[in-house]
Amino acid sequence: MEAFLFWSCGALMVLGGVMMVLQRSAVVAALWLVFAFIAASGVFAVLHAPFLAIMQVLVYAGAIMVLFLFVIMMLQGPVMEGERKRMALPLWPAAAIPPLAVLVLVGAWVSQRTPEPLRTALPDGFGGPRDVAAALLGRYLLAFELISVVLLVAIVGALALGHGERKAS
Protein backbone atom coordinates (compact mmCIF):
# COMPACT_ATOMS: atom_id res chain seq x y z
CA MET A 1 0.00 0.00 0.00
CA GLU A 2 2.71 2.43 1.03
CA ALA A 3 4.79 1.63 -2.01
CA PHE A 4 1.77 2.04 -4.26
CA LEU A 5 0.95 5.44 -2.73
CA PHE A 6 4.57 6.55 -3.04
CA TRP A 7 4.81 5.66 -6.70
CA SER A 8 1.43 7.07 -7.65
CA CYS A 9 2.19 10.37 -5.93
CA GLY A 10 5.51 10.42 -7.76
CA ALA A 11 3.82 9.76 -11.09
CA LEU A 12 1.22 12.47 -10.45
CA MET A 13 4.05 14.86 -9.62
CA VAL A 14 5.76 14.10 -12.93
CA LEU A 15 2.43 14.49 -14.74
CA GLY A 16 1.89 17.88 -13.08
CA GLY A 17 5.36 19.04 -14.07
CA VAL A 18 4.98 17.90 -17.69
CA MET A 19 1.54 19.49 -18.02
CA MET A 20 2.83 22.73 -16.56
CA VAL A 21 5.52 22.99 -19.23
CA LEU A 22 3.07 22.17 -22.02
CA GLN A 23 0.42 24.75 -21.13
CA ARG A 24 0.10 27.92 -23.19
CA SER A 25 -1.99 29.77 -20.63
CA ALA A 26 0.18 30.96 -17.73
CA VAL A 27 -2.69 30.61 -15.23
CA VAL A 28 -3.35 26.98 -16.12
CA ALA A 29 0.38 26.26 -16.04
CA ALA A 30 0.59 27.70 -12.54
CA LEU A 31 -2.29 25.47 -11.47
CA TRP A 32 -0.53 22.38 -12.79
CA LEU A 33 2.50 23.40 -10.76
CA VAL A 34 0.28 23.59 -7.67
CA PHE A 35 -0.94 20.10 -8.54
CA ALA A 36 2.68 18.91 -8.70
CA PHE A 37 3.42 20.52 -5.30
CA ILE A 38 0.47 18.76 -3.68
CA ALA A 39 1.61 15.45 -5.17
CA ALA A 40 5.11 16.15 -3.80
CA SER A 41 3.54 16.71 -0.39
CA GLY A 42 1.97 13.27 -0.77
CA VAL A 43 5.42 11.79 -1.42
CA PHE A 44 6.73 13.43 1.77
CA ALA A 45 3.75 12.14 3.74
CA VAL A 46 4.37 8.56 2.59
CA LEU A 47 8.05 8.95 3.54
CA HIS A 48 7.07 9.72 7.18
CA ALA A 49 7.84 13.42 6.98
CA PRO A 50 4.48 14.97 8.01
CA PHE A 51 6.00 18.36 8.80
CA LEU A 52 7.63 18.68 5.38
CA ALA A 53 4.45 17.45 3.69
CA ILE A 54 2.28 20.11 5.32
CA MET A 55 4.94 22.81 4.79
CA GLN A 56 5.07 21.92 1.10
CA VAL A 57 1.35 22.71 0.81
CA LEU A 58 1.35 25.67 3.20
CA VAL A 59 4.36 27.50 1.78
CA TYR A 60 4.57 26.50 -1.88
CA ALA A 61 0.98 25.76 -2.86
CA GLY A 62 -0.70 28.06 -0.37
CA ALA A 63 1.49 31.14 -0.34
CA ILE A 64 4.06 31.30 -3.15
CA MET A 65 1.86 30.01 -5.96
CA VAL A 66 -1.04 32.21 -4.86
CA LEU A 67 1.30 35.19 -5.20
CA PHE A 68 2.42 33.89 -8.62
CA LEU A 69 -1.20 33.63 -9.73
CA PHE A 70 -1.86 37.10 -8.37
CA VAL A 71 0.99 38.57 -10.41
CA ILE A 72 0.09 36.61 -13.57
CA MET A 73 -3.51 37.74 -13.35
CA MET A 74 -2.58 41.34 -12.61
CA LEU A 75 -0.33 41.47 -15.67
CA GLN A 76 -2.62 39.48 -17.96
CA GLY A 77 -6.05 40.64 -16.89
CA PRO A 78 -9.17 38.59 -17.62
CA VAL A 79 -9.13 36.26 -20.62
CA MET A 80 -9.98 38.02 -23.86
CA GLU A 81 -12.59 36.84 -26.30
CA GLY A 82 -10.29 35.62 -29.05
CA GLU A 83 -8.02 33.72 -26.72
CA ARG A 84 -10.56 31.09 -25.90
CA LYS A 85 -9.63 28.63 -28.65
CA ARG A 86 -5.92 28.80 -28.02
CA MET A 87 -6.36 27.70 -24.44
CA ALA A 88 -7.96 24.38 -25.37
CA LEU A 89 -6.11 21.55 -23.67
CA PRO A 90 -3.67 19.77 -26.02
CA LEU A 91 -4.62 16.10 -26.00
CA TRP A 92 -1.37 14.41 -26.96
CA PRO A 93 0.27 14.59 -23.50
CA ALA A 94 -2.44 12.15 -22.44
CA ALA A 95 -0.25 9.57 -24.19
CA ALA A 96 2.07 9.88 -21.18
CA ILE A 97 -0.54 8.37 -18.86
CA PRO A 98 -0.11 4.64 -19.78
CA PRO A 99 3.70 4.68 -19.36
CA LEU A 100 3.28 6.52 -16.04
CA ALA A 101 0.76 3.92 -14.87
CA VAL A 102 3.16 1.13 -15.84
CA LEU A 103 5.92 2.93 -13.94
CA VAL A 104 3.71 3.12 -10.83
CA LEU A 105 2.84 -0.57 -10.92
CA VAL A 106 6.40 -1.74 -11.63
CA GLY A 107 7.83 0.57 -8.98
CA ALA A 108 5.29 -0.55 -6.39
CA TRP A 109 5.96 -4.19 -7.27
CA VAL A 110 9.74 -3.83 -7.07
CA SER A 111 9.77 -1.92 -3.78
CA GLN A 112 7.28 -4.34 -2.28
CA ARG A 113 9.78 -7.12 -2.86
CA THR A 114 12.78 -5.32 -1.40
CA PRO A 115 13.04 -5.53 2.39
CA GLU A 116 12.81 -2.24 4.25
CA PRO A 117 14.98 -2.25 7.37
CA LEU A 118 14.23 1.46 7.84
CA ARG A 119 10.54 1.09 8.55
CA THR A 120 10.92 -0.61 11.92
CA ALA A 121 13.73 1.71 13.03
CA LEU A 122 11.60 4.88 12.94
CA PRO A 123 11.14 6.36 16.43
CA ASP A 124 7.80 7.80 17.54
CA GLY A 125 7.22 11.32 16.25
CA PHE A 126 9.81 10.92 13.49
CA GLY A 127 9.80 13.75 10.95
CA GLY A 128 7.69 15.92 13.22
CA PRO A 129 8.24 19.63 13.87
CA ARG A 130 10.49 18.87 16.88
CA ASP A 131 13.00 16.86 14.82
CA VAL A 132 13.05 19.36 11.98
CA ALA A 133 13.45 22.31 14.36
CA ALA A 134 16.27 20.58 16.25
CA ALA A 135 18.11 19.93 12.98
CA LEU A 136 17.54 23.40 11.47
CA LEU A 137 18.22 25.44 14.60
CA GLY A 138 20.92 23.18 15.98
CA ARG A 139 23.17 21.28 13.63
CA TYR A 140 22.55 23.38 10.51
CA LEU A 141 22.04 26.73 12.24
CA LEU A 142 24.70 28.59 10.26
CA ALA A 143 23.50 27.35 6.86
CA PHE A 144 19.90 28.09 7.84
CA GLU A 145 20.66 31.68 8.85
CA LEU A 146 22.85 32.22 5.78
CA ILE A 147 19.97 31.16 3.53
CA SER A 148 17.74 33.76 5.15
CA VAL A 149 20.44 36.38 4.52
CA VAL A 150 20.51 35.33 0.85
CA LEU A 151 16.73 35.76 0.70
CA LEU A 152 17.02 39.18 2.31
CA VAL A 153 19.59 40.20 -0.29
CA ALA A 154 17.24 39.00 -3.03
CA ILE A 155 14.37 41.07 -1.62
CA VAL A 156 16.51 44.19 -1.33
CA GLY A 157 17.83 43.59 -4.82
CA ALA A 158 14.36 43.20 -6.29
CA LEU A 159 13.22 46.39 -4.58
CA ALA A 160 16.26 48.31 -5.80
CA LEU A 161 15.77 47.10 -9.39
CA GLY A 162 12.05 47.84 -9.33
CA HIS A 163 12.52 51.36 -8.02
CA GLY A 164 15.35 52.11 -10.42
CA GLU A 165 13.19 51.24 -13.40
CA ARG A 166 10.34 53.40 -12.19
CA LYS A 167 12.60 56.45 -11.89
CA ALA A 168 14.01 55.94 -15.39
CA SER A 169 10.62 55.81 -17.10
Partner: protein, 427 residues
Protein backbone atom coordinates in the same frame (compact mmCIF):
# COMPACT_ATOMS: atom_id res chain seq x y z
CA UNK B 1 -11.79 -3.20 9.66
CA UNK B 2 -12.96 -1.73 12.95
CA UNK B 3 -10.89 1.36 12.46
CA UNK B 4 -12.39 1.92 9.01
CA UNK B 5 -15.90 1.70 10.45
CA UNK B 6 -15.01 4.02 13.34
CA UNK B 7 -13.47 6.58 11.00
CA UNK B 8 -16.45 6.38 8.68
CA UNK B 9 -18.84 6.93 11.60
CA UNK B 10 -16.81 9.95 12.76
CA UNK B 11 -16.64 11.41 9.25
CA UNK B 12 -20.39 10.99 8.81
CA UNK B 13 -21.05 12.60 12.21
CA UNK B 14 -18.87 15.61 11.38
CA UNK B 15 -20.33 15.94 7.90
CA UNK B 16 -23.89 15.80 9.19
CA UNK B 17 -23.04 18.35 11.86
CA UNK B 18 -21.76 20.81 9.23
CA UNK B 19 -24.44 20.12 6.66
CA UNK B 20 -27.13 20.31 9.31
CA UNK B 21 -25.83 23.62 10.55
CA UNK B 22 -25.76 25.23 7.11
CA UNK B 23 -29.54 25.62 6.62
CA UNK B 24 -29.95 26.43 10.32
CA UNK B 25 -27.35 29.19 9.96
CA UNK B 26 -28.97 30.57 6.83
CA UNK B 27 -32.22 30.79 8.79
CA UNK B 28 -30.43 32.32 11.79
CA UNK B 29 -28.70 34.83 9.52
CA UNK B 30 -31.99 36.04 8.04
CA UNK B 31 -33.87 36.12 11.31
CA UNK B 32 -30.83 37.62 13.10
CA UNK B 33 -30.49 40.33 10.48
CA UNK B 34 -34.20 41.07 10.81
CA UNK B 35 -33.93 41.19 14.60
CA UNK B 36 -30.93 43.55 14.50
CA UNK B 37 -32.62 45.79 11.93
CA UNK B 38 -35.93 45.71 13.81
CA UNK B 39 -38.06 43.97 11.19
CA UNK B 40 -39.84 40.62 10.95
CA UNK B 41 -37.64 38.75 8.49
CA UNK B 42 -38.70 35.88 6.22
CA UNK B 43 -42.24 34.71 7.03
CA UNK B 44 -43.90 34.00 3.67
CA UNK B 45 -42.94 30.44 2.69
CA UNK B 46 -45.29 27.92 4.27
CA UNK B 47 -46.25 24.27 4.28
CA UNK B 48 -50.05 23.89 4.17
CA UNK B 49 -50.38 27.42 5.50
CA UNK B 50 -48.05 26.84 8.48
CA UNK B 51 -44.97 29.10 8.37
CA UNK B 52 -42.80 27.61 11.14
CA UNK B 53 -41.18 30.98 11.92
CA UNK B 54 -39.43 31.15 8.54
CA UNK B 55 -37.87 27.69 8.85
CA UNK B 56 -39.48 26.74 5.54
CA UNK B 57 -37.39 29.32 3.69
CA UNK B 58 -34.12 27.31 3.56
CA UNK B 59 -36.09 24.40 2.02
CA UNK B 60 -37.62 26.76 -0.54
CA UNK B 61 -34.12 28.11 -1.26
CA UNK B 62 -32.75 24.64 -1.93
CA UNK B 63 -35.65 23.78 -4.24
CA UNK B 64 -35.19 27.05 -6.11
CA UNK B 65 -31.44 26.54 -6.56
CA UNK B 66 -31.81 22.91 -7.67
CA UNK B 67 -34.40 23.65 -10.33
CA UNK B 68 -32.94 26.92 -11.61
CA UNK B 69 -31.41 26.96 -15.07
CA UNK B 70 -27.63 26.78 -14.95
CA UNK B 71 -26.61 29.85 -16.94
CA UNK B 72 -22.90 30.18 -17.72
CA UNK B 73 -21.06 32.89 -19.66
CA UNK B 74 -20.01 31.87 -23.18
CA UNK B 75 -16.46 33.09 -22.87
CA UNK B 76 -15.56 31.27 -19.69
CA UNK B 77 -12.59 28.98 -19.23
CA UNK B 78 -14.67 25.85 -19.16
CA UNK B 79 -12.56 23.50 -17.02
CA UNK B 80 -11.58 26.03 -14.37
CA UNK B 81 -15.08 27.51 -14.25
CA UNK B 82 -16.44 24.09 -13.30
CA UNK B 83 -13.53 23.29 -10.99
CA UNK B 84 -13.79 26.42 -8.84
CA UNK B 85 -17.05 25.79 -6.89
CA UNK B 86 -16.02 22.20 -6.26
CA UNK B 87 -12.64 23.36 -4.94
CA UNK B 88 -14.22 25.93 -2.62
CA UNK B 89 -16.57 23.37 -1.11
CA UNK B 90 -13.91 20.64 -0.74
CA UNK B 91 -11.57 22.96 1.08
CA UNK B 92 -14.38 24.19 3.32
CA UNK B 93 -15.31 20.72 4.58
CA UNK B 94 -11.88 19.08 4.76
CA UNK B 95 -10.62 21.20 7.67
CA UNK B 96 -12.91 19.26 9.99
CA UNK B 97 -10.73 16.17 9.78
CA UNK B 98 -8.37 17.36 12.53
CA UNK B 99 -10.73 19.19 14.90
CA UNK B 100 -11.46 17.09 18.01
CA UNK B 101 -15.15 17.22 18.90
CA UNK B 102 -14.86 15.20 22.10
CA UNK B 103 -12.32 13.44 24.29
CA UNK B 104 -13.05 9.73 23.74
CA UNK B 105 -16.04 7.44 23.63
CA UNK B 106 -15.80 4.22 25.65
CA UNK B 107 -17.89 1.50 24.02
CA UNK B 108 -17.55 -2.13 25.08
CA UNK B 109 -14.21 -1.52 26.81
CA UNK B 110 -12.75 0.20 23.74
CA UNK B 111 -11.66 3.81 23.69
CA UNK B 112 -12.48 5.64 20.47
CA UNK B 113 -10.81 9.07 20.21
CA UNK B 114 -13.37 11.56 18.90
CA UNK B 115 -11.34 13.12 16.11
CA UNK B 116 -11.21 11.92 12.51
CA UNK B 117 -7.44 12.27 11.99
CA UNK B 118 -5.18 13.01 14.94
CA UNK B 119 -2.33 14.55 12.96
CA UNK B 120 0.99 15.38 14.60
CA UNK B 121 0.89 18.67 12.69
CA UNK B 122 -2.86 19.28 12.92
CA UNK B 123 -2.59 23.01 13.48
CA UNK B 124 -0.43 23.42 10.36
CA UNK B 125 -2.87 21.24 8.41
CA UNK B 126 -5.66 23.68 9.21
CA UNK B 127 -3.55 26.63 8.03
CA UNK B 128 -2.49 24.75 4.87
CA UNK B 129 -6.05 23.84 3.91
CA UNK B 130 -7.20 27.39 4.64
CA UNK B 131 -4.48 28.73 2.35
CA UNK B 132 -5.68 26.43 -0.46
CA UNK B 133 -9.13 27.98 -0.10
CA UNK B 134 -7.84 31.02 -1.98
CA UNK B 135 -7.63 29.05 -5.24
CA UNK B 136 -11.34 28.38 -5.50
CA UNK B 137 -12.17 32.07 -5.14
CA UNK B 138 -9.43 33.27 -7.48
CA UNK B 139 -10.23 30.71 -10.17
CA UNK B 140 -13.93 31.48 -9.99
CA UNK B 141 -13.12 35.14 -10.51
CA UNK B 142 -10.71 34.52 -13.37
CA UNK B 143 -12.45 31.70 -15.25
CA UNK B 144 -15.77 33.55 -15.52
CA UNK B 145 -13.97 36.08 -17.74
CA UNK B 146 -15.75 39.11 -16.39
CA UNK B 147 -14.10 42.26 -15.06
CA UNK B 148 -16.17 42.37 -11.88
CA UNK B 149 -15.56 38.73 -10.96
CA UNK B 150 -11.90 39.23 -11.82
CA UNK B 151 -11.64 42.17 -9.42
CA UNK B 152 -13.32 40.08 -6.75
CA UNK B 153 -10.81 37.27 -7.25
CA UNK B 154 -7.84 39.65 -7.13
CA UNK B 155 -9.16 41.27 -3.96
CA UNK B 156 -9.67 37.86 -2.37
CA UNK B 157 -6.07 36.82 -3.10
CA UNK B 158 -4.52 39.94 -1.66
CA UNK B 159 -6.76 39.83 1.40
CA UNK B 160 -6.27 36.17 2.17
CA UNK B 161 -2.48 36.29 1.79
CA UNK B 162 -2.30 39.32 4.08
CA UNK B 163 -4.39 37.82 6.86
CA UNK B 164 -3.01 34.27 6.69
CA UNK B 165 0.28 35.58 8.09
CA UNK B 166 -1.37 37.20 11.10
CA UNK B 167 -3.39 34.03 11.64
CA UNK B 168 -0.25 31.89 11.71
CA UNK B 169 1.53 34.31 14.06
CA UNK B 170 -1.44 34.42 16.44
CA UNK B 171 -1.59 30.65 16.67
CA UNK B 172 2.18 30.44 17.21
CA UNK B 173 1.75 31.78 20.76
CA UNK B 174 -0.52 28.86 21.66
CA UNK B 175 1.99 26.48 20.13
CA UNK B 176 4.71 27.88 22.39
CA UNK B 177 2.56 27.51 25.52
CA UNK B 178 1.33 23.97 24.88
CA UNK B 179 4.50 22.83 23.12
CA UNK B 180 2.65 20.92 20.43
CA UNK B 181 0.94 21.25 17.06
CA UNK B 182 -1.44 18.36 17.75
CA UNK B 183 -4.94 19.78 18.16
CA UNK B 184 -6.04 17.04 20.59
CA UNK B 185 -3.10 17.91 22.89
CA UNK B 186 -3.91 21.64 22.68
CA UNK B 187 -7.55 21.03 23.64
CA UNK B 188 -6.59 18.56 26.38
CA UNK B 189 -4.08 21.11 27.72
CA UNK B 190 -6.87 23.64 28.24
CA UNK B 191 -8.63 21.43 30.79
CA UNK B 192 -6.78 22.65 33.88
CA UNK B 193 -7.29 25.68 36.09
CA UNK B 194 -5.15 28.80 36.30
CA UNK B 195 -4.52 30.15 39.85
CA UNK B 196 -7.06 27.57 41.00
CA UNK B 197 -10.18 29.27 39.65
CA UNK B 198 -9.74 30.49 36.04
CA UNK B 199 -10.26 27.87 33.32
CA UNK B 200 -6.93 27.51 31.48
CA UNK B 201 -8.45 28.39 28.12
CA UNK B 202 -6.44 29.83 25.25
CA UNK B 203 -8.34 33.11 25.50
CA UNK B 204 -7.12 33.56 29.10
CA UNK B 205 -3.52 32.69 28.27
CA UNK B 206 -3.41 34.57 24.95
CA UNK B 207 -5.98 37.40 24.96
CA UNK B 208 -4.19 39.39 22.25
CA UNK B 209 -3.60 36.23 20.22
CA UNK B 210 -7.32 35.50 20.40
CA UNK B 211 -8.28 38.95 19.09
CA UNK B 212 -5.79 38.63 16.23
CA UNK B 213 -6.95 35.10 15.43
CA UNK B 214 -10.64 35.88 15.38
CA UNK B 215 -10.02 38.93 13.15
CA UNK B 216 -7.96 36.82 10.75
CA UNK B 217 -10.63 34.10 10.71
CA UNK B 218 -13.26 36.69 9.80
CA UNK B 219 -11.03 37.92 6.99
CA UNK B 220 -10.42 34.37 5.74
CA UNK B 221 -14.13 33.57 5.62
CA UNK B 222 -14.69 36.71 3.46
CA UNK B 223 -17.54 37.87 5.64
CA UNK B 224 -18.41 41.36 6.76
CA UNK B 225 -16.55 43.51 7.72
CA UNK B 226 -14.10 41.79 5.35
CA UNK B 227 -16.41 40.93 2.43
CA UNK B 228 -14.57 43.06 -0.12
CA UNK B 229 -14.21 40.16 -2.60
CA UNK B 230 -18.01 40.26 -2.85
CA UNK B 231 -18.65 43.94 -2.18
CA UNK B 232 -22.04 44.11 -3.87
CA UNK B 233 -22.14 47.90 -3.93
CA UNK B 234 -18.79 48.13 -5.75
CA UNK B 235 -18.26 45.00 -7.85
CA UNK B 236 -21.80 43.60 -8.03
CA UNK B 237 -21.23 40.20 -6.37
CA UNK B 238 -17.51 39.71 -6.88
CA UNK B 239 -16.09 36.32 -7.68
CA UNK B 240 -19.36 34.33 -7.84
CA UNK B 241 -21.22 36.85 -10.01
CA UNK B 242 -21.35 34.59 -13.08
CA UNK B 243 -22.49 31.45 -11.26
CA UNK B 244 -26.07 30.30 -11.01
CA UNK B 245 -28.10 27.32 -9.87
CA UNK B 246 -26.23 24.64 -7.91
CA UNK B 247 -22.80 26.08 -8.69
CA UNK B 248 -23.82 29.24 -6.89
CA UNK B 249 -25.34 27.09 -4.14
CA UNK B 250 -21.91 25.52 -3.60
CA UNK B 251 -20.34 28.96 -3.03
CA UNK B 252 -23.21 29.89 -0.76
CA UNK B 253 -22.94 26.71 1.28
CA UNK B 254 -19.14 26.94 1.40
CA UNK B 255 -19.43 30.35 3.07
CA UNK B 256 -21.53 28.86 5.87
CA UNK B 257 -19.25 25.80 6.10
CA UNK B 258 -16.34 28.20 6.53
CA UNK B 259 -18.25 29.91 9.31
CA UNK B 260 -18.75 26.60 11.12
CA UNK B 261 -15.08 25.69 10.61
CA UNK B 262 -14.01 29.09 11.89
CA UNK B 263 -16.30 28.77 14.92
CA UNK B 264 -15.00 25.26 15.60
CA UNK B 265 -11.37 26.42 15.34
CA UNK B 266 -11.99 29.40 17.65
CA UNK B 267 -13.64 27.19 20.25
CA UNK B 268 -11.04 24.42 19.96
CA UNK B 269 -8.00 26.73 20.16
CA UNK B 270 -9.16 29.50 22.49
CA UNK B 271 -12.23 28.24 24.36
CA UNK B 272 -11.20 24.78 25.46
CA UNK B 273 -12.97 22.80 22.71
CA UNK B 274 -15.02 20.10 24.40
CA UNK B 275 -13.78 21.02 27.91
CA UNK B 276 -16.44 22.14 30.38
CA UNK B 277 -14.90 24.60 32.85
CA UNK B 278 -14.54 23.32 36.46
CA UNK B 279 -15.89 19.93 35.36
CA UNK B 280 -12.95 17.80 34.17
CA UNK B 281 -13.64 14.35 32.78
CA UNK B 282 -13.28 12.32 36.08
CA UNK B 283 -15.67 14.64 37.92
CA UNK B 284 -18.12 14.47 35.00
CA UNK B 285 -18.13 10.68 35.23
CA UNK B 286 -18.52 10.63 39.04
CA UNK B 287 -21.49 12.99 38.99
CA UNK B 288 -23.03 11.81 35.71
CA UNK B 289 -26.30 10.79 37.40
CA UNK B 290 -26.73 14.11 39.19
CA UNK B 291 -25.83 16.09 36.05
CA UNK B 292 -28.33 14.12 33.96
CA UNK B 293 -31.08 14.87 36.47
CA UNK B 294 -30.19 18.58 36.50
CA UNK B 295 -30.11 18.67 32.69
CA UNK B 296 -33.47 16.93 32.32
CA UNK B 297 -35.02 19.26 34.92
CA UNK B 298 -33.62 22.27 33.04
CA UNK B 299 -35.03 20.98 29.74
CA UNK B 300 -38.46 20.49 31.33
CA UNK B 301 -38.42 23.97 32.88
CA UNK B 302 -37.33 25.72 29.68
CA UNK B 303 -39.75 23.86 27.40
CA UNK B 304 -42.64 24.45 29.81
CA UNK B 305 -41.78 28.16 29.80
CA UNK B 306 -41.87 28.25 25.99
CA UNK B 307 -45.10 26.25 25.98
CA UNK B 308 -46.67 28.80 28.32
CA UNK B 309 -45.54 31.63 26.02
CA UNK B 310 -47.14 29.91 23.03
CA UNK B 311 -50.33 29.14 24.96
CA UNK B 312 -50.66 32.82 25.84
CA UNK B 313 -50.30 33.64 22.15
CA UNK B 314 -53.04 31.10 21.37
CA UNK B 315 -55.37 32.99 23.67
CA UNK B 316 -54.34 36.45 22.51
CA UNK B 317 -54.43 35.80 18.77
CA UNK B 318 -57.55 33.68 18.53
CA UNK B 319 -58.95 34.02 14.99
CA UNK B 320 -56.45 36.78 14.08
CA UNK B 321 -55.82 35.60 10.50
CA UNK B 322 -58.86 33.46 9.86
CA UNK B 323 -56.81 30.72 8.09
CA UNK B 324 -54.26 27.98 8.83
CA UNK B 325 -51.87 30.53 10.36
CA UNK B 326 -54.06 30.60 13.47
CA UNK B 327 -52.91 27.07 14.25
CA UNK B 328 -49.21 28.08 14.45
CA UNK B 329 -49.16 28.97 18.18
CA UNK B 330 -51.07 25.76 18.96
CA UNK B 331 -48.43 23.78 17.08
CA UNK B 332 -45.61 25.60 18.90
CA UNK B 333 -47.16 24.96 22.31
CA UNK B 334 -47.71 21.31 21.38
CA UNK B 335 -44.11 20.88 20.26
CA UNK B 336 -42.69 22.27 23.51
CA UNK B 337 -45.13 20.21 25.58
CA UNK B 338 -44.00 17.05 23.74
CA UNK B 339 -40.35 17.91 24.48
CA UNK B 340 -41.18 18.49 28.16
CA UNK B 341 -43.07 15.19 28.27
CA UNK B 342 -40.17 13.34 26.65
CA UNK B 343 -37.73 14.78 29.20
CA UNK B 344 -40.09 13.83 32.03
CA UNK B 345 -40.45 10.36 30.54
CA UNK B 346 -36.65 9.99 30.62
CA UNK B 347 -36.88 10.08 34.43
CA UNK B 348 -38.56 6.66 34.26
CA UNK B 349 -35.18 5.26 33.12
CA UNK B 350 -33.75 6.24 36.56
CA UNK B 351 -30.82 8.39 35.28
CA UNK B 352 -29.49 8.83 38.85
CA UNK B 353 -28.67 5.09 39.03
CA UNK B 354 -26.41 5.17 35.96
CA UNK B 355 -23.56 2.62 35.95
CA UNK B 356 -19.86 3.37 35.27
CA UNK B 357 -20.11 2.41 31.58
CA UNK B 358 -23.17 4.60 31.12
CA UNK B 359 -21.50 7.41 33.08
CA UNK B 360 -18.56 7.34 30.66
CA UNK B 361 -20.87 7.60 27.66
CA UNK B 362 -22.87 10.36 29.38
CA UNK B 363 -19.65 12.30 30.08
CA UNK B 364 -18.74 12.03 26.38
CA UNK B 365 -22.19 13.26 25.40
CA UNK B 366 -21.84 16.23 27.77
CA UNK B 367 -18.44 17.11 26.28
CA UNK B 368 -19.60 16.83 22.67
CA UNK B 369 -22.60 18.94 23.66
CA UNK B 370 -20.31 21.58 25.16
CA UNK B 371 -18.29 21.67 21.93
CA UNK B 372 -21.38 21.97 19.72
CA UNK B 373 -22.74 24.68 22.01
CA UNK B 374 -19.53 26.72 21.69
CA UNK B 375 -19.56 26.27 17.90
CA UNK B 376 -23.16 27.46 17.71
CA UNK B 377 -22.33 30.52 19.82
CA UNK B 378 -19.37 31.54 17.65
CA UNK B 379 -21.36 30.90 14.47
CA UNK B 380 -23.96 33.30 15.86
CA UNK B 381 -21.15 35.76 16.63
CA UNK B 382 -20.29 35.75 12.90
CA UNK B 383 -23.88 36.79 12.11
CA UNK B 384 -23.95 39.34 14.90
CA UNK B 385 -20.74 41.00 13.66
CA UNK B 386 -21.90 40.97 10.05
CA UNK B 387 -25.05 42.95 10.80
CA UNK B 388 -23.34 45.32 13.23
CA UNK B 389 -20.18 46.52 11.47
CA UNK B 390 -19.85 48.32 8.12
CA UNK B 391 -17.48 47.08 5.43
CA UNK B 392 -13.84 48.22 5.41
CA UNK B 393 -12.44 50.33 2.62
CA UNK B 394 -9.71 48.50 0.72
CA UNK B 395 -6.82 50.67 1.95
CA UNK B 396 -8.11 50.34 5.53
CA UNK B 397 -8.15 46.57 5.10
CA UNK B 398 -4.53 46.47 3.94
CA UNK B 399 -3.39 48.92 6.61
CA UNK B 400 -5.05 46.85 9.33
CA UNK B 401 -3.52 43.62 8.02
CA UNK B 402 0.06 44.74 7.48
CA UNK B 403 0.60 47.72 9.79
CA UNK B 404 -1.49 46.74 12.81
CA UNK B 405 -2.06 43.00 12.97
CA UNK B 406 1.34 41.84 11.76
CA UNK B 407 3.40 43.90 14.28
CA UNK B 408 0.96 43.04 17.07
CA UNK B 409 1.27 39.36 16.19
CA UNK B 410 5.07 39.55 16.27
CA UNK B 411 4.99 41.43 19.59
CA UNK B 412 2.60 38.84 21.04
CA UNK B 413 4.92 36.06 19.97
CA UNK B 414 8.04 37.72 21.44
CA UNK B 415 6.32 38.58 24.74
CA UNK B 416 4.91 35.04 25.04
CA UNK B 417 8.35 33.54 24.40
CA UNK B 418 10.00 35.89 26.95
CA UNK B 419 7.40 35.16 29.64
CA UNK B 420 7.68 31.43 29.03
CA UNK B 421 11.49 31.65 29.25
CA UNK B 422 11.24 33.65 32.50
CA UNK B 423 8.70 31.30 34.10
CA UNK B 424 10.49 28.26 32.77
CA UNK B 425 7.23 26.91 31.37
CA UNK B 426 6.54 25.63 27.89
CA UNK B 427 8.09 22.48 26.51
Amino acid sequence: MDIVLESLAKIVFMFLLIMGMVPALIWAERKGAAFIQDRTGPNRASIAGIRLAGLVHPIADVLKLVFKEDIAPTHRHRALYNLAPWLVMTVAVSTYAVIPFGDYLELGGKRIPLVVADLQVGLLYVLAVASLGTYGVVLAGWAANNKFTFLGGIRATAQMISYEISMGLAVMGLMLIFGTLRLTDIVAGQGGLLFGFLPMWGVVLQPLGFVLFITAVYAETNRNPFDLPEGESEIVAGYHLEYSSLKFALFFMAEYCHMVVGAAMISALYFGGYQIPWLPRPRLEQNAGLLLVIMLAAIIAVSLWFAVLFLRRVQREKGKFGDARDREPVLGAGLWLVIAAAAAGAFLLRPWEIGPAGASVAATVFQVGAFVGKVVFFAWLFIWVRWTLPRFRYDQLMRLGWKVMLPLGLANLVVTALVLAAVGGGK
